[in-house]
Symmetry: C2
Subunit: 565 residues, 2 copies
């Protein structure tokens, strides 16, 4: 039961609900990217993902990656599939044409990566890291480095890594110790050990480009002393650099992706960006990377749903309430407990997709809109909404995949149906690219509260304007938007006396925002041209089972903000 | 980091909060089982579990079980540990002295099994199945079968299985097809294939006693045509019976326990109980078995908490809000997001324990109270509360273990710290012994609604009587008990017109009951003699983060019961 991408579902959301074709056509580089071309790209992507990538998922989990003599062997078929991915031009889908890319919108790339993760999360990790490295080098590397590396990365000829974490420095990157010593020729000598490096070593490409967070001599302690170095596995003249994979981790899942401990022994590298601005150089790519992780959560949830739904239509156990006894045991999809699990996941998948695609469109606007104010507004939307999507969609990716496993009963706990792999694979998305707890703090403490919620409220205004208060569902969303604003003010005021409070409420606040965004999404989806029974059903499931979380979280926040006795 | 049982924590709950010693002393067989003896048993159990069983947990996961030539090899050390378990008299802790047991209270056995599961869930599966088989044979087997099997099972000399599921018959056992044909000598010939048989084959004991759900010739279709047969692996005269392990499953976790496909080829067996009363014979043991599964959830959650708490005290990342910047990065336990995860799990562990131990005490009362009304009331309590505990504690066992994994960041996703094994192992408890969805239906549809909630309300009265309405927390529990009763009536009335409604609301209803029981538990724990800061902290976490679910579920139920437009 491999994952099957369904382009029609996506096009309904992009075209009918979001009006993506018109929005993209307004951006100069995409003037020619009409609805037909977008449909064609999605159709081809669906074919590639379904036929080439999805069938390798189970083998990737079972065989996993092996380290022998310093070389990492990826699972059978991965190298050929990756070569086909490069040959198809997929790595450079949204990269600039001058770098060898296709110059297509980020929103199409977002859909591609959602499908890839759904079909084969382990495989997807390899190309998934290219895009951040590309953006980072494009914005911060010297012309010389760009000439040597940018094109190769844009096209996927060489893969890249992000070497951030050290064993004692995870969420707190300010503790990084890896050292970089400048040489007379302008290069650096980089020494240190990095852990949790996805694709640190593999057999997919002849070279691997590491972006390494490190510390120059005499750099101040903490995050302001961090710089970024580019360290290739293979030097320009073919010599192997002093970068070694010491170990690959045994993990809960994601076995198709080698998670490496990388040792740099006076390895040769070059500075990317300014000294002491390493974190800033990395953060350039954060919104896009986090959005992709959110889409991994949604993709894996859709993969779990596809499996569970197919099983629930076939498997017959007991007569469902209201079903004809004479017909014998009913498909379990008709049992209310199973129907609820499936419908709630659909509400998250398509609601989450709508918000994620809207955000990906804003990435396109932020990059390409002719009007500076429009670019800035789009950037703000991404800045606020991306951590919300990252945390909430990955949480649901895991919880919902586990709920889908439950549909299989005991059959879900054994390997046979593949659903337990989805659960194991999904778990990591809640951790990497900043844990979900860090996302919540990023949203509330770093972004919303500094101006007491004014900027965030302004960013959400656009949603209110898209609603029609004469419809009940729309009016309900408007009420919740207003309540969210009120709760934000509550927290901002209470935080004066109790500075730890926002940290305590960050998770609740993020969930409040996500449920509100989902409410907006379902109000929009339900009334879009072409919406039918499946949409009405998912919208009803959302209102019945998901939306009540809003009031619960609101009560938690309100209570916590009351003056302490 | 092996699990360490903490008898003092348990004795606080048993002695100071529940007054277990006095309650047990009132039961004739336990007149001599005073607090000192109970303490001694728990201390010895803690030593055995901590020193013998816990160290084998990781190896059990990594090596797993192997099937070769029809024989199953359990992980290294399991056979010796099991022999030590038998030698220590642990299998028969609560079995009757006349069967070779120790005749101790079920509540002590409950604690033992909680610890065993926490220490090594895979190992625990083997002896865990004895108790149901013992109860079943004790109540339903012929004197001849009892003479041949009961003592061996009571003492753990031979292990036992429950052969229920077939590939097409899981939650719906009425579909079972395995056939049993009576022979002239009074035996049966049993033929069929059973799946998901824990411990169907292994190297721990010289014989394995299978209790097999089957169908006699001319039995009616459905559950009323099911009978129960005892089928030994080895016959009395040493001949191997025609029972074979065809395959062991590859599972998400629980690798220390072989999950077998068992084929019966005209195997020799004997009827247990009446023809057509097979399900009834099996259900005798259901409350005890489900309570043990609930305690597995609690135990695994405590194991996850122990690991995460130890890590959070040691690991330092970033300065926590309010902490001294000059002291450098804080232990992550001081970060509010981490503290919340840990405190919420403590609230579930000790609150869940209190309800589970109270229920285990009621099992003792139901078995041994001289007064028939007291036995009946205790039986009713168990009947209502057991499915609630099974579903809610196993859900939290998994969700909470996953939350504890999150405390480790990326380190949680790799094998190193063992926390990901706990998450994988915990997942199965939501499925077996009746899925959690089945538990919810059992509670609401089969038990609460048939008398419109009157019996359940009566069973809960005893809680109200233990509360002191002059305390705020106690008054709050009383209000919620009243609200629960009101919601029950609501559902009962609405169900007249909409018979599917209780099935739709069963999960919400079960959660409402569990949160109410937890509220009672924390009201009691907080004011028990000896309660201190840790209890106050967990109680506060419960009220702040767990209790709000009550209002959310209540709103869902109320809304669903409104007349449909």
């Amino acid at each position: 039961m491999d994952y099957t991408p369904r382009p029609d579902d996506i096009r309904f959301l992009l075209d009918a609900v979001l009006g993506a074709p018109a929005r993209l056509a307004a951006l100069p580089p995409f003037a020619e990217v009409d609805a037909d071309l977008q449909a064609q790209v999605l159709a081809q992507a669906a074919t590639f993902v379904g036929e080439v990538v999805a069938p390798l998922n189970r083998g990737g989990d079972e065989t996993g990656c092996r380290l022998e003599g310093g070389a990492v062997q990826t699972p059978p078929g991965f190298a050929a599939a990756y070569q086909a991915f490069v040959d198809g031009g997929w790595p450079g889908l949204s990269a600039a044409p001058e770098d060898g890319g296709q110059g297509l919108p980020a929103v199409l790339e977002a859909v591609l990566y959602e499908w890839l993760a759904a079909a084969n999360h382990g495989f997807t990790m390899a190309p998934g890291l290219l895009h951040g490295a590309y953006e980072c080098l494009r914005h911060h590397a010297s012309d010389d480095l760009k000439a040597r590396y940018l094109g190769r990365i844009a096209t996927g000829e060489w893969l890249a890594t992000m070497c951030l974490t050290e064993s004692h420095a995870g969420s707190d990157l300010g503790l990084v110790r890896t050292r970089a010593v400048p040489q007379a020729d302008g290069s650096l000598r980089v020494s240190g050990t990095k852990i949790f490096i996805s694709g640190g070593e593999h057999d997919l490409t002849p070279n691997i480009v590491h972006l390494v967070l490190c510390r120059l001599p005499d750099a101040p302690p903490g995050p302001k002393g961090l710089s970024l170095a580019l360290v290739p596995k293979v030097m320009d003249y073919g010599r192997r650099n002093a970068v070694h994979c010491e170990r690959i981790e045994e993990k809960m899942g994601l076995h198709g992706s080698p998670t490496c401990v990388m040792r740099f022994d006076d390895a040769t590298g070059w500075l990317v960006g300014e000294p002491g601005r390493g974190l800033a150089a990395m953060f350039v790519m954060m919104n896009a990377a986090r959005l992709h992780v959110a889409l991994q959560g949604i993709g894996l949830l859709d993969a779990a749903w596809q499996k569970a739904n197919a099983y629930a239509q076939e498997r017959r156990q007991m007569v469902a309430p209201g079903a004809d006894r004479a017909a014998g045991p009913s498909p379990i999809a008709l049992h209310p407990a199973v129907a609820r699990i499936l419908d709630v996941q659909r509400a998250w998948i398509d609601g989450g997709r709508l918000i994620a695609y809207r955000t990906a469109l804003q990435l396109d606007v932020a990059r390409h809109a002719p009007d500076a104010r429009a670019r800035e507004r789009a950037q703000q939307w991404c800045s606020y909404v991306t951590p919300v999507l990252k945390a909430a969609c990955t949480q649901q990716g895991f919880d919902g995949a586990s709920a889908c496993l439950q549909v299989f009963g005991g059959h879900g706990y054994v390997r046979e149906w593949g659903i337990e792999q989805t659960v194991r694979d999904a778990r990591v998305t809640m951790i990497y690219e900043g844990t979900n707890e860090i996302q919540a703090i990023d949203l509330l403490v770093r972004k919303v509260l500094p101006d007491a919620g004014a900027g965030f409220a302004a960013a959400l205004l656009v949603l209110r304007d898209e609603l029609d208060a004469s419809r009940d569902a729309d009016a309900d969303v408007q009420r919740r938007l207003a309540q969210l604003r009120y709760l934000t003010t509550n927290i901002a005021m209470a935080a004066h006396a109790r500075p730890a409070l926002p940290y305590e409420l960050a998770d609740d606040y993020l969930r409040l925002v996500m449920v509100t965004l989902l409410a907006w999404a379902w109000a929009r989806i339900e009334q879009a041209p072409g919406a039918g029974e499946p949409q009405a059903r998912a919208a009803a499931a959302f209102r019945r089972w998901v939306l009540p979380e809003f009031d619960m979280r609101a009560a938690i926040v309100k209570k916590a903000c009351e003056p302490q006795p």
